[in-house]
Each structure stands twice: as structure tokens, then as C-alpha cells.
Subunit: 355 residues, 2 copies
DNA sequence: TTGAAAGCGTTACCAA
DNA sequence: TTGGTAACGCTTTCAA
């Protein structure tokens, strides 16, 4: 049995092979290669040489099993295809890679029960930490899965019950949306449409920011809140419905980057010119915002930073578990030509255009 | 020692705990839970019940170590933030998830040596397969890393030396680019600029398609090929340089979606109207292509399908290793308003515009 | 049909 | 300073 030193599954050398070649004990190899002190220079030398000539690298599986730590973290998001989420993943991945961690990526498709399932799979894979962008804040399966995690968890842009053991990285949507609201009200808009997603923290913050903006100016809350999913299709429907209103809003704010494409379709179809016939604000900058004619005013944030901070947080608490921590990152409003002064109702505006 | 049944690192029950609770042997638990036949209904029942009450799920690390298979695959791409790559990952991930595989995602940042390093890390993590979008085709480190892989590897959109043991999923860039070229030549363009990246298969196919299109019409190859990286910055520089030429092209083709933003910046800055003053074709549809005014004509492909086929290929060869396989997927040209007839030199065009 | 025991490749204790 | 050895949690012979 000891003659045959197959090492690894597909014929890679194992620690035994290195020990044999170096003529030392297996334990010494482990010690040297994991950088533990207390090995003579000679032994160290021989082990290193043997390892190099064999092209040896430790089997991360066995290490993980023994060390009870895999240096991997799981990421659960709805869809990597959403540029916002891609940026978050990118930010997290670059921090984690530097720290020697790998990322297990999963997409839940925005289905709460799948969130829960993915969390469980990742736990079985013994990830050392978890970064999750949960779809909802009150899905029972997700809550259960989150309660059963035995590793640090960082939740992005969500607020969960206090008994959920997790850390948070939050965007300060209130600030950016408040600035956007004030900018619109300043320009004279009084009836504003706000398209939002499901009832999660960003939605609540955005609605609150809008309402407070009205309140602060002593204006009646002439706000139309349209709730649904944050999809392109919903963006289109929302615009259609709002503009079909007897008293349509003169400005519309989209609470999610995915809404924009559908919204623009509806707007173009109606032949409306943004900034003149209708003012539009979107959330989360995408190339389309900047290159659209006119450019789309946007509530901005640094998505990569969001992911990077989440990664730092999870690493910190893997290192030394601590009490729940919460990080808040800024959002800000960037005004662009899609925002102008109101110009009567959209019915009048359409009449203008046709004439 | 046998009284204490801690099971898993952070206090999750192990197989021993289940065996103890069910009052059966540990081997029986394994057999029942991994669905092997040959267990009495009673035993099966008791094991299942015990597992459920303990909330037991096997430790994937230990399973992987023992089975010599982790049901995980590694993905190496340049940057998940590129919507093309995000779509490829998404396509792969959905196929793999259904098959019970997890994805280890890494970004190389488009640095060849990092490609190689990531491949090695993933091998040490004992992935069962690898999907790679290599930066270059002749980087020595990457070639070495690829040769040392002991698992099925699928390379996307690249052509490597025949001695590299890998499977391929390729886009038929020749077809789509050929159609684009013919469309431009048909409209009367004779001097066309082509911006491409480094010397990899897509670049070569695109250049060849353009050249062949000229040849087939018996036209001289009045083609300006601009080579560089596929970044937004390079897109901007490329446009600037081409339009600054004494005899600027009347149409420009961008061989990569990342080029578009920079290119549009340069074009807008010059006040050129696409489709009239200059014709533009991009590669790989992004929202910006469709919503730009005018919309940008594009050589399209199904990126998710690219990832999905890669995943299928890798799964097939994990199941039953076979000889190298190669899959080709279509690209096609979608003409949009950014393509019009040529209108003199850009100098004249600018004069027109100013007048 | 069932279970004891031998590993999988590594780490870490402990004795030498 | 070194190396044997017992785990880590699981699967898989092999005997019973």
C-alpha cells in the first residue's frame, strides 16, 4: 500500500509522495508547506524542493475537512445578468480573491424559496461565509435557512428581523432619493410617479424620502406609488398606466435599473420627449442612462463598493466572530437632461407634439 | 469519544448522529441517503426519519474527498461586469445548478497570467470541470495550466493548439460579420474601419469575414483594421484616430461590446449623426444598442446559449470522458438605423453639419 | 440486508 | 526539531 503513492484522484501527487521523495515524515511536509514555524532549514529546504519537483499543491478538500474551514464564501443573488448585481459580485470577488477565498456563485432568479435552497446548498458545501441579496425580507423559508447558518452572513440592502444573525451592508437610498425628489419639486413638479418593487428596505426608504420631500416643503403628497416587480416589463406597464391616468404625473421616478428599458419603450412609443414632455429619474447608473438622448437623471451608488464592503465584513467576522454590524453606503442624485420643468398634463403635451 | 457526536464543525449533526438516533450502522445511513438499493423498508424509514429530525445533510467536503468528485465546476472569465460574460455565466450556471453542480466563479481581469493562476486554484479545489474564457491563446502560463488539468475543460470562443486537451464552444463570427460587411458594401461603403482586440479567434474570423466580403464583390480591400484591447477607452481612441485620417472610413465596425461606449463618446463629441454622417456596427447586443438614437446595428449572438452549451459539454465529459468536441453557435447581423449610405468624407460631413 | 472497518488527503496532537 | 498516529465526515469494500 505504501509503494503506491497515487496521491490525488486524477493522479496528482499527494503529501505522502512529497514526504517519500524528501525522505521525511508526512507531518513535516504539512508543517513546512503550511508555513508553521519550527522546522530546520535543511528539512524545510528538502520539503520545498520535493514539493516543487512534484508540482505538489495541497488538496483543498482534505484541508477543508480537517481544518474546518474552506476559505470559500457563497454568494446568493437574483441574477448576475443584472449589471447592478454583476458589479456587486465583482466588488466582492476582488476583495475575497486577494484574501485567498473563492466565491461560489448562485442565482436565485428572484424566487424567495430558491434563495433559501441556495443558502442551504452553500452551507452543505461548508462555505466559511455567505453574502446574500435576499429577494424578500419575510419569506419563511429564507428566514429558516438564515437562522440555520453556522457562519457569518452579510445581507445586502435588506432589513431582517433582529433575531436573524446577520451583518448588513446598506445603501442610503433615503438620501439620494430625497435629493432627486427635491430637485423635481424645485423644478415645479407637483404630481410625481414613483415605480417601486416589492416591499423591501430600498422601496420603503425611497417612498419615505419622496413623502418627506413633499412634507418638508409643506406640499400635499401628490405622489403616485406604483408597486410591482422590478422588471423591464413592469417598467413598461407602470409608465403606460401612469400616463393613462386622468391626471398623469409630470415626472416619474423609477426605483430600479431594470425598469428603465421597458419604461423607455413606452415613452418612445408615445413620442414623448424626456425633459420636455415628461421628466424621468432612474436608479443605479447603467450605460444606457448616460448615452440616452437626453441622458437619464439617476440616483447613483457605487455597486462595486457595496460588494467590497460586504466581503470585508464577512472576512472580518470569519476571522473573529463579533456582534452584528451594519455598514451604510451613500447614494446621490445626478441630474441630467431627462429632468426639466413640468409642462401641463401629458394629454396637453401630446397635443402640443401633434400640432 | 463516541458519546460526543458533534458532527460538523459548527455543530451540525454528522452521519454518526443520524446512525445513533436511528439505532443503525453508519454505513446504512450512507446507503439510504445516497439512494443505493438494498435496504429494507424499515431501515430506510428509520434512517430517513432520524435524518429529518436532526436536519441532517451530508458534508459535501467529506463526500468529495471520498468520492473523488465535488460536483462543482470552475469558471474563469475576464470580468463578470461585462454583460456578455455575465450572460455566459448565467447560461452555464442554470444548466449546472439543475444538474446539482455548483459554480466557482473567478475573474481574471483579462490578465493572461491570472487566467493561469485561477485555473490552478480551481484545480486545487478539485473542481470536476472547468469552463474558461481565456484572454489569449498562446500565453505560456495558461497553456501550462491547461495541460495540467486533470478534468474536462471547455474553452469558449478560443482556438488553442491541438495538444491542449479541451473542448470548445465557438461562435461563428465569420457568418455574422460577413453579413454585416455585405450589408455595408451593399449600401455603397467602400472604406470601412474595423476595430478589433488582440489576436484571438474572434478577431481573426472577423477580419477574414470582412476581407472575404470585399473579395467576393471583386472590390479592393479598402479596410482599416485597428487593433488594440477591447475596452471603452480603446473604442474612443480608435474612432478618433480613424476619423482623423486623411481618408476616413464611412463606416466603422466595432468588434466587441465594450468598445461601444467610448466610440459613442467620440462620435457624439464630433457631433456626427450615425446612419447619416457615419455608419456604425457593433458586436454583441446590449441595451444601449437598442435604445440609442439611432439604434446601433449589431452582430448578435445568444450569449446564454454559449454558456449553456459549455456547461452541457463539460457535464457530458465528466459523466463519460470522450474525445475533444467542438460546438459552433451562430451569429447574425441585425441591421439598424446606425447604418446608412456613405456621404462623402467625414471632413465634408462635418462641414455639412456646421453649415 | 446490515455493519465494521479501511481509507480519501490533510492537520494537529503528542511522544520521542 | 521530527514523525507516528488519530481524527475530519463520508463512501465502499468485505464479512457476517
Amino acid at each position: 500500500m505504501s509503494d503506491n503513492l497515487p496521491g490525488d484522484p486524477k493522479g496528482r501527487p499527494g503529501i505522502k509522495a512529497v514526504a517519500a521523495l524528501a525522505g521525511v515524515g508526512i507531518a513535516s511536509v504539512s508543517r513546512v508547506l503550511s508555513g508553521q514555524p519550527g522546522s530546520s532549514p535543511q528539512l524545510t529546504q528538502r520539503v520545498l524542493e520535493a514539493a516543487r519537483t512534484l508540482g505538489y499543491a495541497p488538496n483543498a478538500l482534505a484541508q477543508g475537512l480537517r481544518r474546518r474551514a474552506t476559505r470559500s464564501i457563497g454568494f446568493v443573488g437574483s441574477d448576475i445578468t443584472n449589471p447592478l448585481i454583476a458589479s456587486i459580485v465583482r466588488g466582492a470577488e476582488s476583495v475575497l480573491t486577494v484574501a485567498g477565498f473563492s466565491v461560489l456563485l448562485t442565482n436565485s432568479g428572484g424566487v424567495p424559496s430558491v434563495d433559501a435552497e441556495r443558502i442551504e446548498v452553500l452551507m452543505h458545501r461548508q462555505v466559511d461565509g455567505l453574502i446574500v441579496l435576499p429577494t424578500l425580507e419575510d419569506d419563511p423559508a429564507t428566514l429558516l435557512a438564515l437562522r440555520n447558518t453556522k457562519c457569518p452572513v452579510v445581507l445586502i440592502d435588506r432589513a431582517f428581523p433582529a433575531d436573524i444573525p446577520a451583518h448588513y451592508v446598506l445603501s442610503d437610498h433615503y438620501q439620494g432619493m430625497g435629493d432627486a425628489a427635491r430637485a423635481l419639486l424645485d423644478k415645479g413638479h407637483r404630481r410625481i410617479g414613483l415605480v417601486v418593487g416589492r416591499d423591501v428596505r430600498p422601496t420603503r426608504e425611497r417612498v419615505r424620502a419622496m413623502e418627506d420631500a413633499y412634507d418638508r416643503l409643506g406640499l400635499p403628497r401628490d405622489l403616485i406609488v406604483h408597486r410591482g416587480t422590478l422588471s423591464s416589463d413592469h417598467g413598461e406597464v407602470a409608465i403606460e398606466e401612469m400616463l393613462a391616468d386622468d391626471d398623469p404625473p409630470t415626472a416619474i421616478v423609477l426605483g430600479g435599473n431594470q425598469l428603465l428599458e421597458g419604461a423607455l419603450q413606452a415613452i418612445h412609443r408615445r413620442g414623448l420627449q424626456l425633459g420636455r414632455d415628461l421628466s424621468l429619474v432612474s436608479c443605479d447608473d447603467v450605460p444606457l442612462c448616460r448615452f440616452h438622448q437626453p441622458p437619464i437623471a439617476t440616483v447613483m451608488r457605487d455597486a462595486e463598493q457595496l460588494g467590497a464592503r460586504a466581503a470585508q465584513l464577512v472576512l472580518t467576522h470569519i476571522e473573529t466572530p463579533g456582534t452584528p454590524e451594519s455598514v451604510s453606503l451613500p447614494t446621490w442624485f445626478e441630474s441630467r437632461a431627462s429632468c426639466g420643468a413640468p409642462s401641463g398634463t401629458s394629454v396637453q403635451r401630446r397635443a402640443d407634439k401633434v400640432r
